[in-house]
């Protein structure tokens, strides 16, 4: 047998050592990740005035439960720690710090509330913890990606949605006298900006805009709506949250006003529109946009995506399947799982953020056919496609085509 010279032995030894080092380098991980689990965290309102949105996190968790039952993501089960911040940014901050520093989550996912998520955005970016798919359409979370590369939104930006409405009005009702009722917070103001920007030189079509505070009692909205009617508006935009939208639609009919109505996407689930109709609102002809399937829409009854949703949501005991917020939660969780799958064994925060922010190209079974979740190096708006929908015969009807509205 030939004896290995000392040099060759050294070479072999080096090669073995190299192989040993190289082996562990292929499974790089960050805090919150073990060989069989991934820990995600979120702060969301589950009590207090915005508690209705809290179900989003529970629905997302239901999807994670489903994925875990199928073996998890690359063999890792997802744990989702949900903390209640009561929609108060001053509570969001310590709870987020707790999740990051004490619980050592891998990433924050699905945080709710523009003010709340703004409060922790700088902190998370400084610590390089991904702030993924925040549950708000406030345009800043997608628009300001270059300043905050660890933050990304998911749903279509409110400004983009309002621009679609502006295009619709200009195309189909160029002589409209527009009145706007908007909620006096970041949500309502974002929509208003989108509408005004979208109308551009025609912004003077807006004859009056009236705001209300979230503390308003619904019946007192009659004051704002009466003023809008008196100023001669024949087209009404309602940028309000569900309870106020329903109330406004009923009041409009009660004061014998029949403008063309534009309802925003947060308030447009068919269940709410039907409540408004039962209160006497005449809403035939109302316009909105959709990007996600409505669980109460019979046209999706045999749709594979909808059936998957019904199966998934059953594991959440407090979630009502007909609630539009729940399918939203499941849909965004789908994207989250997709990102984790794509990251594979390179489960680092940097890699996950790079995929979510710039390398996403997903077809989501819970979104309308044709809508994709896409991000590129220059496009950090995951969803920008929406379709105009019109209300008639007690249901929304899609008005193709899909419109892709970019907000620069």
């Amino acid at each position: 047998m030939t004896r290995l010279g000392p040099r060759s032995a050294a070479m072999v030894a080096c090669l073995i050592a190299l192989a040993a080092c190289g082996g562990s380098g292929g499974t790089a991980t960050d805090p919150g990740v073990t060989s069989n689990s991934i820990l995600l965290g979120v702060t969301i309102a589950q009590s207090g005035p915005a508690a209705a949105y809290g179900t989003i996190a529970n629905a997302a968790n239901a999807y994670f439960t489903y994925v875990n039952s199928q073996g998890g993501v690359n063999g890792r089960k997802i744990t989702y720690k949900i903390l209640d911040d009561g929609y108060n940014p001053a509570q969001t901050v310590p709870l987020t710090k707790q999740l990051v520093e004490a619980d050592q989550v891998f990433a924050m996912f699905g945080g709710l509330g523009t003010q709340s998520q703004t409060a922790v955005r700088d902190y998370l970016n400084a610590k390089k913890v991904p702030q993924l798919f925040v549950a708000t359409g406030a345009t800043t979370f997608m628009q300001d990606f270059s300043q905050h590369p660890y933050t990304i939104g998911w749903q279509p930006p409110y400004q983009g949605e309002a621009r679609i409405y502006a295009k619709d009005v200009l195309a189909n009702h160029p002589n409209a006298k527009i009145g706007v009722l908007y909620q006096n917070d970041d949500y309502g103001l974002d929509y208003l900006k989108g509408l005004t920007d979208g109308l551009g030189a025609n912004a003077s079509m807006i004859v009056d805009k009236e705001s209300y505070d979230v503390t308003a009692a619904v019946p007192t909205l009659a004051a704002q709506l009466t003023t809008l009617k008196a100023k001669g508006a024949d087209t009404l935009f309602i940028f309000a949250t569900p309870a106020f939208t329903i109330g406004s639609l009923a009041i409009v009919t009660a004061i014998h006003w029949a403008p063309l109505e534009y309802v925003n996407s947060v308030s447009d689930p068919a269940a709410y529109m039907q409540i408004a109709a039962s209160k006497g609102a005449k809403i035939d002809g109302a316009i909105s946009v959709g990007y996600i399937k409505d669980p109460t829409d019979p046209q999706w009854a045999n749709d594979a995506g909808m059936q998957l949703y019904q199966k998934v949501i059953a594991s959440c005991s407090t979630c009502k399947p007909s609630d539009g917020f729940n399918i939203y939660g499941v849909a965004v969780a789908y994207t989250m799982v997709d990102v984790l799958k794509q990251a594979g064994s390179n489960l680092t925060r940097a890699n996950v953020m790079s995929i979510a922010g710039s390398n996403l190209n997903e077809t989501n079974p819970f979104l309308l056919p044709g809508v994709t979740v896409t991000t590129t190096a220059t496009d950090h708006y995951p969803i920008t496609q929406e379709e105009v929908i019109k209300w008639s015969a007690n249901a929304w009807h899609l008005q193709p085509p899909l419109i892709d509205e970019q907000v620069s």
Binding site: A90, K97, T114, N184, D185
Partner: protein, 365 residues
């Protein structure tokens, strides 16, 4: 000297021990936990002020969150727009809060306890909508972001030599700023309450007409109490904004004002230590009820899941009612009563003791 130490009431030893623990805290816990205790101390400062108003001068306020908002926004606006040194803004916030409180205290004189509670409750509810109005000034619904302040170099060095650990963080620095501020304000309140103003206020609390009959300037002391409590709330608000790094209308909901009053009452009105206990109670209760309970394995999951799902509100409400019925003098009152009972049992037959004056009735109204 030594004999004086020995004769000092047990209370003083307790205070000393607590002070030592608080001083050394950041070296023993993580930076994040220091930031949690900063929030406890901030609540304690605001509650201390409220204590002067409610426990000593007998006026109820359900609206002190509004004064915290005033202080927080003062700091935020001065720091972000006018680039004033953030430490300087803390006393400024207090002064502005105090001035507004004093002015509001004047019409408040005409309101009975119940009506004052009602009016201040309404104030707390409308505070967020009032903040949103002057958009140019307050940033409206966007709020104002502030960078976490860096500790000055000499403090960093001192900290490093003492703890021999990682560099001092902004959170630990803010903890000490809050601790020192709190200690100073605590000392001021304690002194004031030990001397004439405190006695005058207690006399007013126990009966306005007899107090006036004995020559006390009722109106003056009541408005002073209002102004002082608003000053404390303003300072607390300023620190609140600095440690959170963000102020916005939703940061000051009516729940905050409610928490302050609850903290004052649960801690123990007309007690000096009460505010600290109250602050801890107010900060930790939601966390305990939604997180700690569910993570304890010895509690059956049915019971703990009820706690979590029901949320802090149910626990809060139920606990509050129970405390009001069974321990109306708050936790400190409970502890004091227990201590006294224990002591009298231990002293027992030997010492009849001096004739005890009946304890200060903590009446308000």
């Amino acid at each position: 000297m030594v004999s004086r130490l020995r004769r000092a009431p047990a209370r003083y030893w307790l205070v000393g021990a607590v002070a030592l623990v608080l001083l050394g805290l950041p070296s023993a816990v993580t930076s994040f936990e220091s930031s949690e205790w900063t929030l406890v101390l901030i609540f304690a400062i605001a509650i201390m002020g409220l204590n002067v108003l409610v426990g000593y001068s007998g006026q109820i306020s359900l609206g002190h969150g509004a004064f915290m908002a005033l202080g927080a926004y003062t700091t935020a606006i001065l720091v972000s727009r006018y680039h004033v040194n953030y430490l300087l803004t803390i006393p400024i916030a207090g002064v502005i809060g105090g001035a507004v409180g004093f002015l509001l205290g004047i019409p408040a004189l005409r309101l009975s306890a119940l009506y004052l509670a009602l009016a201040t409750f309404a104030l707390a509810v409308v505070t967020p909508s009032l903040i949103k109005r002057p958009v140019e000034l307050t940033g409206g619904v966007q709020g104002i972001l502030m960078l976490p302040p860096d500790p000055p170099q000499f403090v960093k060095d001192a900290f490093a030599t003492v703890t021999n650990g990682p560099q001092m963080t902004s959170e630990q620095w803010l903890y000490y700023v809050t601790l020192v501020t709190g200690a100073v304000l605590f000392w001021v309140a304690w002194n004031m309450l030990r001397h004439r103003p405190g006695r005058a206020m207690r006399a007013i609390r126990d009966g306005e007409v007899p107090a006036a009959a004995s020559g006390i300037n009722v109106a003056g002391y009541k408005t002073l109490a209002f102004g002082m409590s608003a000053f404390y709330a303003g300072v607390a608000g300023s620190l609140y904004g600095l440690s959170t790094g963000y102020v916005s209308p939703d940061t000051f909901p009516v729940a905050l004002s409610f928490q302050l009053l609850v903290g004052a009452v649960v801690g123990g009105l007309a007690s000096i230590v009460g505010p600290l206990v109250g602050g801890a109670f107010v900060y930790w209760l939601p966390i305990v009820s939604s997180q700690t309970i569910s993570s304890q394995d010895w509690i059956p999951s049915q019971i703990s899941s009820v706690f979590v799902k029901a949320g802090p509100a149910v626990t809060y409400g139920a606990l509050l009612i129970l405390i009001m019925i069974f321990a109306p003098n708050g936790i400190v009152g409970l502890a004091t009563a227990a201590y006294k009972a224990l002591r009298s049992r231990l002293r027992g037959a030997n010492e009849q003791g001096t004739v005890q004056m009946p304890p200060d009735p903590h009446t308000v109204g």
